[in-house]
Amino acid sequence: MQKRYMSIWFSTLLTDWIRIKRPALRDLPLVFSDKAGNRMVITATSSEASLLGIHLGMPLADARAIVPDLEVIENQCHKSERLLRAIGEWCIRYSPLVAVEEDQGLILDISGCAHLWGGEREYLREIVNRLRGLGYFVRAAISDTMGTSWAVARYGKISPIIKSTEELNALLSLPPMALRLSAVASQKLIKLGLKTVGSFISMPRSVLRRRIGEENMERIEQVLGQKEERFSPIVVPELYGERLASMEPIRTRKGIEIAIEKLLTQLCNHLERDGMGLRSALLQSFRIDGKVIRTEIGTNSPSAHISHLLKLFSLKIEQIEPKMGIELFTMDATKVEPLDPRQEALWAAEKGVEDQKVTELLDKLAGKVGLQAIQRYLPQPYHWPERSIKKVDSLHETLSLPWRTDRLRPVQLLKIPEPVQVSAPIPDYPPMLFRYQGITHQVKKADGPERIEREWWLEEGEHRDYYQLEDTEGKRYWLFRSGHYSSEKTSGWFIHGFFA
C-alpha cells in the first residue's frame, strides 16, 4: 500500500507550553536556558525573542545584553522530549502510528487514515487547528516519505500536501538544510553556491558523496524514497486492539458500559477466530480535556468470554472519571495466549484447575486485591529451602518434576531465619537447649544434621547444617547452624521452621 506520512513541526514548543501554563507570559520575549559547561546557553526561544536577534546556542549573558527584561526559564533539559511524547500519545486519535522525530516534531504514519476525516486536506486542517487551539504553533506537511514531510513542514512555502511522486519537485526550491543534512555538510554546500536542493540533487552520486560523506548521502536517499527509513512509534499498536470513537462525548456509567461491551465483543470475536484467549487487557479512555485514563484487567487463564471479561471491567468502571466526557475508547489485549479448545468442553464437567468457575473466582479476587496476591507453587530443582519452590502465574502449569518426599520439611517456615541462642555439647552435635523469643526449650530428641550447601553458582555464603529438634512438650523445630563450627568465632544458630 502507498505509504503517506505527516510531519508536524512545533517551532516554539517549550515557549508555547509555558505560555499555556502561564498566560501572563504571552507576547513577552521568552527563552529557556540550560547549563552547557560553565555557562548558561539558550535552548529555546519564543518568536518574539528570535525577532530581537536571540538565537539558539547563544550565551544567556549575551541575550540579556540585547534584551534586558528577557524572561528566562531555566533547567528544563528533557522537557521537550517528554512533552512531544505526551502530544504524540494524544495524536494517536488520528493515527495509531505516531513517532517523535528530530528537531521538535512528530511524524504520523497516516496511510489509510485521512479518508476518515474526508481527505488529506481536511485531516491536516483538523490536526493543525486542534493543536493551534491548544496554543501550540505548528506547521504540518503530508507526503510519501518521512524526509519530504519533514522538509516541507519546516521549509516549505507553497502547499503542505505533496502528491505522490512529486516529492522531488517540492524539494527543488528548498535550502540544503531541508534534507536533514548535518550542519557542516549544509554549510559546505551553501559555501559552494549550492543554495537550493535543485542545484545539486541531479549531480552524480559519486561527486556528491565525496563532498558531503556517506551518512548525508543516505539522508538524501531516504528523502527521495530510494531507501527505507526506520519508523519507531511511541506506542506500538497491539496486534489485538480495538478502538471506538463516540459521536458525542460519553459521560455516563451506562455509556461507558456499552462502550466496553462493544469493544469486548469485537476483541473477543477477533481473538476467538485466531484461537487465542486474553490474559490481560488495557482499556484507554481518551477524555476531551486531553487526559487518558488507563484501566487494566488480568485473568488467570486465557479467556475470550465476553460476559466474564465484562464483569472484570465493571469492577473498575468507578475509576473511569468522565469529567467533561470521553471521546474515544481503545482496548488492547496486552497479553494473549492460545486458548485450548479442549478446555471449554472440560470446564463445566470436572472439578479442578480447568474449572471455569474457579478461574472466574480468581479473576474476581485479582480484580480487587491484585494479581500478585494469588500464588501457586511448583517445585524447583534446588535444595536450598527458599529456592525449592517457584511461583507460577498460570493455573495450567503442571508438575515438571515431582515433589520431594525423602526429606521432611517444616509446615511453617519463617521467611527470614531468626537467630537463636543455643548450647550444644560438642561441635557438630545437635543442641541440648535453645532460647527463642525469651523461652528456653530443652531438646529431648533430635535428628540431623542435614547439610544444605548454598548453590554457589547462584549466590555466595555459608552452608547450613539443619537439625530437627523436639522439645520436652513435643513441639518440633527446624534449626540450623550457619557455616562450619570454629573456635575463633561463635557460630550462628538460626530457627527456620516449625514442624507439625
Binding site: E350, K351, G352, V353, D355, K357, V358, L361, L362, K364, L365, K368, V369, A373, I374, Q375, R376, Y377, L378, P379, P385, S388, I389, L395, T398, L399, W403, R404, T405, L408, R409, P410, V411, Q412, L413, L414, K415, K444, K445, A446, D447, Q468, E470, T472, E473, G474, K475, R476, G497, F498, F499, A500
Partner: protein, 242 residues
C-alpha cells in the same frame, strides 16, 4: 414404649438439624477421613462437611500442628481432585511440606492479602464457588455476624471451610460446627531408634454443634491417622500428671 420415644426424639433431632442447615447423612458422597473414634463425637457420627471448622492456634508451633492436621483432612477431601484456597495475611505455610500429609501443594492456591477485611471478603467469595473442595482461612478474629455470613454462603455452595484463629484470647462465639485445638505431643521413637518419631498430636474438640466434645491423642504416620498403642498413651497420661 422406650423405643418409640427414642424414635420420636431421633426424628425430632433430625428435623432440628436440617433446620439448622446441617443436612442429613447420605447427602453427597461421604468422605472417610480415617479419624476413628473422633468422628463418633459428631452428629450422625459423620465428620460435618459443608460447615465451618475452627482451629485455635495462638503460636507458631500450634499453627504448624493445625496446618499438618488440616492438610491431612484436605488430602482425604481432595482425593478425587479439586482445588483448595488458602487465604491469609502473613502466611508462613511452606508448601513443599504438605506432601508429607498426602496433599499435593500444587493443588492449593494461596491468596496472600494485606488486611483482615480483605481476608473475610475473599473467603466469602471463595466459599460461594462450589467447584472448590475447601477454603482455609487464617484470621486473627471473627465475629458472630461474620461467621454467619460465611455459614449462609456455605449452605448454598456446600463447600467446607477451615478457619485458623490466631488470636484465641478474644474468643467470640461463632456458627462453627466444631472448634478444635491441635497441639503437639512428644513422639514415640520408631522401633526404639534414636531421633524423632511420627508427628503426634493432642486433638481437642472444644465445641461440637449437636455433638460431644472430647480430647484424643492421635499419630499421623504412613498417610493416615492412627491411635497410638495403649502403653504410649498411658505414659503420656503419667507425664501429664507429673
Amino acid at each position: 414404649m422406650e423405643s418409640v420415644k427414642r424414635d420420636i426424639i431421633g426424628k425430632l433431632q433430625e428435623q432440628i438439624l436440617s433446620l439448622q442447615g446441617v443436612k442429613p447423612v447420605g447427602d453427597g458422597p461421604a468422605v472417610n477421613f480415617g479419624l476413628g473414634e473422633i468422628s463418633a463425637s459428631f452428629p450422625g457420627k459423620v465428620f460435618p462437611l459443608a460447615a465451618i471448622h475452627e482451629f485455635l492456634s495462638t503460636n507458631l508451633e500450634d499453627a504448624a500442628a493445625s496446618g499438618g492436621f488440616i492438610s491431612a483432612l484436605l488430602s482425604s477431601l481432595m482425593q478425587k481432585g479439586g482445588l483448595c484456597l488458602w487465604i491469609s495475611t502473613q502466611r508462613k505455610i511452606f508448601p513443599p511440606s504438605l506432601i508429607t500429609f498426602g496433599l499435593s501443594p500444587e493443588r492449593i492456591i494461596f491468596i496472600d492479602l494485606q488486611n483482615e477485611r480483605d481476608v473475610l471478603w475473599a473467603s466469602e467469595e471463595a466459599l460461594k464457588c462450589e467447584s472448590l473442595a475447601a477454603v482455609v482461612t487464617e484470621l486473627d478474629e471473627i465475629s458472630f455476624a461474620q461467621s454467619r455470613r460465611l455459614q449462609l454462603v456455605i449452605e448454598k455452595s456446600r463447600v467446607t471451610s477451615f478457619i485458623i484463629r490466631k488470636n484465641a484470647e478474644k474468643l467470640s462465639a461463632t456458627l462453627a460446627a466444631a472448634r478444635w485445638r491441635i497441639s503437639a505431643l512428644p513422639s514415640e521413637a520408631i522401633d526404639g531408634l534414636p531421633g524423632l518419631g511420627f508427628p503426634r498430636w493432642n486433638i481437642e474438640l472444644l465445641k461440637v454443634k449437636n455433638g460431644l466434645p472430647g480430647s484424643w491423642t492421635i499419630e499421623y504416620s504412613g498417610g493416615s491417622f492412627r491411635a497410638p498403642s495403649k502403653t504410649v498413651s498411658e505414659t503420656i497420661e503419667i507425664r501429664k500428671a507429673v
